[in-house]
Amino acid sequence: MSTETTPATAGAQRPTTVKPVVQPGDRIFAGLAKGAGILILVVLAGVAAFLVAEAAPAFTAPATDIPGGAGFVAYVVPLIFGTLLAAVIALVIATPLAVAVALFITHYAPRRIAQALGYVVDLLAAVPSIVYGLWGAWTLAPATVPLMRWLEANLGFIPLFAGPVSATGRTMLVAGVVLAVMILPIITAVAREVFLQTPRLHEEAALALGATRWEMIRMAVLPFGRSGIISGAMLGLGRALGETMAVAIVLSVSGGITFNLIGNGNPSTIAANIALQFPEASGLGVNVLIASGLVLFLITLAVNSLARYIVNRRREFSGAN
């Protein structure tokens, strides 16, 4: 527009192109849209800034003032451990199941009802987390006590199932199962998406060479969808790490780091600990909880960025197929 400021480009274009008419409406609308985009960046920066600002007192306070009396690191490490443990259990259970469900919907179910079955799995994602929490504590936990007794009796030599079994069933294992149910639809959705993108010709070529359906899936579908499965699992992991209410309701907490999944004393998770402690917290206690929330934010940020990185890398390469 202004020839003085950008003489090179404007001068080069002048002979061939007509200067486009930019109406004020155009400028206002484009500005609004751009402003909304920038607002999102501001909000995210605000999230980080306010969390850091409110968390700072917890980092600088003397160790004896932090709950537990041994400083912030000692306070948060068992919580990080619990968070990771619950999320990893959920991931170990949910990923193979989600891949199988995605395969069922894309390659096994009758074509006509496949979409409806996809909706059913999506409904799992729609159920609010509070409902999963109530269900986990009320229905699932008592129902799994016999199973955990069996695990203790037969697999008790593995430290994971050392017991003694919690009588209420509100254990780390059950919390992991509830989380697995919650992240299953996320992983399934991503896996389903990539399985559907498998080049049709690869599949047909495998079948034409005499492969059975499973051999076709193993040779054509799974290699193509591997990065999708990985990134879906990472997204699920991010969700499981940050899930609050289900864990807060299901898990009966008594601190301490332990790998015993079926016992009474379970480490809490960061998110559940915040939900349980926040209503009664005051003063420095609030700052400590916000600081632990900041730690959670950073962990999920790392996991999600990694997942997105894998997805995007795949997107670049898949254009060649």
């Binding site: 409406g25 484009a30 987390s129 209410m245 939900a275 609030v286 934010f297």
Partner: protein, 361 residues
């Protein structure tokens, strides 16, 4: 393949050598799968009838026995490759069954526990002055609607405009940064969004401030990226020809967007926004830390704590009074109402997408 051949016997009697080679490859009969399933169900049922029956063991035992039997039979008759194929088919199918069990169990539990208090009083009275029996969640339902409504009011314009920017205007570093950070935002744990609202309003108002609008801000942080993603997907699939045709007629770009692009994709956008509302309406954690709970009706989102359905349900369950039963019943009914709202919103979204979809021909 063998099915063809058995159905037309003349082909078998007039064979070409190669075809016979394939046809002779043995295969389990078609009734093997349903028959085997019925047989293993019968066997497991009988065994369990002797040692004590339980539905869970019955289903698991039947599936295990059936899978093992089918695998062995297929391995003997059809060979190992076919057997593996059948094994995987059974595993994949039962995986789907396994995934649906929690959904059914959740719905059954919530409905059976929640129906006890699914009555007029629950929808018409608050918890003001209620100890023990009676009372309801009218105040919580209103609070949920107000807070979610405010969150939607903030998120929808921002989300829509951002998506328009990304699809129609965005180029270069800013657009890439926004795309990346919207992805980052999708991954923010809901409790962290709640803490953000608390930290923000601690800074603005002072410590200990709990009010509805803080909850709306927290929910917006969760909702904006969902709206952006959904809208972006929908805007991207609007065919470029439509934009070019309008631009060629001399329509300014912003009118093209408002009159052509958005109307074409409005069904998908509305459906995506409905799903986004359904996603945040059940959020508990941010509202627990940022809004708290009251027993009385409060319609002013800027002053004092408000009750919301998820928090009402959680606190009734986690910190019941004495006797416990009425509190637990109210918690379950609140969960039931919540699940109904979410399911209705989900159905509505599908309906919108289907009914208002642009006519392609």
């Amino acid at each position: 393949m063998t099915v063809d051949i058995t159905k037309s016997p003349e082909r078998v009697t007039a064979p070409s050598p190669q075809r016979r080679g394939l046809a002779r490859r043995a295969q389990l009969p078609r009734w093997a799968v349903p028959g085997g399933l019925a047989a293993s169900a019968a066997v497991v049922g009988l065994v369990l009838a002797l040692v004590g029956f339980s539905t869970g063991l019955f289903v698991v035992g039947t599936v295990v026995l059936f899978t093992a039997g089918l695998y062995v039979a297929s391995r003997i008759v059809e060979g190992s490759r076919k057997a593996t194929d059948r094994l995987v088919t059974v595993i994949v199918t039962s995986a789907f069954g396994l995934a649906v069990i929690p959904l059914i169990s959740v719905i059954c539990t919530v409905v059976s526990e929640g129906l006890a208090r699914f009555d007029v009083e629950f929808f018409s009275s608050s918890m003001r002055g209620v100890v023990g029996e009676g009372g309801g969640a009218y105040h919580a339902i209103v609070g949920t609607l107000i807070i979610t409504g405010l969150a939607a009011l903030m998120s929808i314009p921002v989300g829509l405009l951002t998506a328009v920017y990304l699809v129609e205007y965005g180029k270069g570093r800013l657009a890439r940064a926004i795309t990346f950070f919207v992805d980052v935002m999708t991954g923010i744990p809901s409790i962290v969004a709640g803490l953000f609202a608390v930290a923000l309003f601690t800074y603005l108002v002072g410590p200990g401030a709990r009010f509805g609008f803080a909850g709306s801000v927290a929910l917006s942080v969760l909702m904006i990226p969902i709206v952006v993603r959904a809208t972006e997907e929908m805007l991207k699939i609007v065919p470029n020809e439509l934009r070019e045709a309008a631009l060629a007629l001399g329509v300014p770009k912003w009118r093209v967007i408002l009159k052509v692009v958005i109307p074409t994709s409005i069904a998908g956008i509305a459906s995506g926004i409905t799903l986004a509302i359904a996603r945040v309406i059940g959020e508990t954690a941010p509202l627990l830390v940022a809004v708290g709970l009251t027993t009385a009706m409060n319609v002013n989102a800027f002053d004092g704590r408000m009750a919301t359905l998820p928090v009402f349900s959680y606190l009734s369950y986690a910190t019941p009074g004495v006797p416990r039963e009425p509190y637990l019943e109210r918690a379950w009914t609140a969960a039931l109402v919540l699940i109904i709202i979410v399911m209705v919103l989900n159905l509505l979204a599908r309906l919108i997408a289907r009914v208002f979809a642009p006519k392609t021909r």
